[in-house]
Symmetry: C2
Subunit: 352 residues, 2 copies
């Protein structure tokens, strides 16, 4: 494995000469992501690393490791890599570091570093949420802050194909059908604290063992625990026990098949969302919502609640909101997370 | 468990005083279905039983059992059952058999029997398909034949919630995303040998253990092996090993959640299908297909191939057909099952 497949469309959508954020924990996946981006000619990157303060000295050491890495990349005089098209994918040459190479163009890298630090454990306790949720929220909030300050609203993240499959199964087992099986997309936009952050995941069709080979063959250094430090028990069980058990019992690889299903689900959800009525309004008309087919009612409510910054929108919440559409119901209020409420008044729904 | 929830909408769509087919293997599920339908006032039924000839004398005994059952139902002077609405579902009183009851209306039942017999093993061998596929095809072909002869195009089948969950997982593990995760619907229409058969599955939200309790409490007789005789190894493994393992490892019931996801998938697929361009044509325009979003391209091709009676339409076939849309491709032919071919000629796709 001396190359990794990346969707070539990403290069036209996100050309290498623009500036981007990259989330780098210091773990295997994000190190490969950074290496790949660099290899592909992305030179104006802002590396974002958040110290979650979950593992004491070890967390601080992750931060120093990323700091050292950025210094090393900046010190490099690098060449523009050649790009050969292999099938539909790009064959990435390995990075030529420092040495003069056969490629004529050279360019100095400009890799910035943004370090942040948050007491995730305290945040989880304060907001009564799991460590994993607190860590994710802290990370996205940190990314959004950097995006705003640096005026750079696109971030590359290192989620790969196994992450996608695991997330699909987590959503399935949690019954998240209404909020989408296709939670992880190659390109998506998310509004966080007044910032519209575009999230790009170039490794979404790359498997963990391809990443492992890439790391081995290039002898890349990474921090062993960094990427798994916030691994939730559920994800852990799915990764280490359930998927191996399924493949053993069924006598075949199922990850490819689940991945394919997840990708189709993404395309169908994208399309369904493009068909939804405008939900960028402070309230929703009960009459208009009632006129939609069930499938679109769910999606419209979901999209609208997200636009209202409501958190923890599960199947039950959406079904309770849908029950308000029934003309016969006397209920006119649904409790939401964080002491917020959805009310029906004068034929309209709104969040307080 | 003295009652079973059935979607009350089915009663308005399929009123009890019309005539319907019912698939009855003699196994637990179909016996409960027949009992429920009878209980709900359906009196003009044509019981369809196909002897698969897979278990010798035992198969013949299944047929005699169903024959005896029909005779017993016909002998009954029955009363119109009361229908009380419980929540959104109907509470079914147990059938009053023969005895005079509190209900004033009585009506004689008119239950017909259609017996068929097919050497499924020979059919499987001849067509080089699995026993399970051969059995299913033989059954549907038998149902379609009866439907045509008796001019009765709606059939009740006994699939329940566990069947739905198992089918969802089978489709997922097989990567059937493009052909739909939502293979089993409460109401669907299927074209079989020039017959449009409407398939209704009233038990699709009833769990196997509810059916078991129903059978126990009413002391219903059934044939132990009849319903499982064609259980494929894959379904068997999912039912007996994988779902129990998942629930043990995750420490929670996941069947409800998967069921919910499957039901939402059905509603979304129904809606997507309603948005598809007309595919009831002998050929498809490449240009028009190319203009659709990916998600609709897949669905349109699938729907059209089904209308052309193409069998074994998997993800790979649909992707190969989609690849013909690429103006750069030189390929103009895709091999289909049963020695059929799809060709691109003069900007149109057609099946030969």
């Amino acid at each position: 494995m001396d190359w990794i497949q990346i969707n070539p469309q990403l290069f036209s959508s996100f050309p290498p000469d623009s500036r981007y954020l990259v989330g780098v924990s210091g773990g295997r996946d994000s190190i490969v992501l950074l290496h790949c981006l660099f290899d592909l000619g992305y030179r104006r990157l802002i590396v974002c690393h958040l110290n979650h303060q979950l593992r004491g000295h070890s967390s601080a050491a992750d931060a120093s490791f990323v700091q050292g890495l950025v210094a090393k990349y900046n010190g490099k005089i690098v060449c523009q890599p050649s790009r050969k098209i292999v099938g539909q994918a790009l064959r990435l040459p390995s990075v030529r570091t420092g040495k003069r190479s056969a490629y004529p163009t050279t360019r100095v890298a400009n890799i910035d570093l943004e370090l942040g630090s948050v007491d995730v454990r305290a945040r989880a306790k304060r907001n009564k949420i799991s460590i994993e949720t607190a860590a994710r929220e802290a990370r996205y909030s940190f990314f959004a802050g950097v995006a705003k300050r640096r005026r750079c609203h696109t971030i590359f993240l290192a989620h790969h194909a196994d992450d996608l499959v695991e997330t699909f199964l987590i959503n399935l087992f949690r019954g998240a059908g209404a909020t989408g099986l296709a939670a992880m997309r190659e390109v998506s936009t998310r509004r966080i604290e007044d910032v519209d952050l575009t999230i790009v995941r170039p490794l979404l069709s790359v498997w963990r063992d391809q990443i492992d080979s890439y790391v081995r063959e290039r002898r890349l250094k990474f921090r062993e625990d960094a990427s798994n430090k916030n691994l939730a028990p559920l994800r852990n069980r799915i990764r280490r026990r359930i998927i191996p058990y399924l493949e053993k019992t069924l006598g075949r690889s199922i990850r490819q098949n689940i991945w394919r299903t997840a990708v189709i689900a993404v395309e169908e959800e994208n399309w369904i969302e493009s068909q939804l009525p405008n939900s960028d309004t402070p309230d929703l008309s009960v009459r208009e919502l009632r006129a939609l087919p069930f499938a679109l009612q769910r999606r419209t409510i979901l999209k609208w609640l997200r636009a209202q910054n409501v958190s923890e929108i599960g199947f039950e919440v959406i079904e309770r909101v849908r029950s308000l559409l029934d003309p016969a119901t006397r209920v006119a209020k649904v409790n939401l997370a964080q002491d917020r409420h959805l009310r029906r008044r004068a034929g309209r729904l709104f969040v307080e």
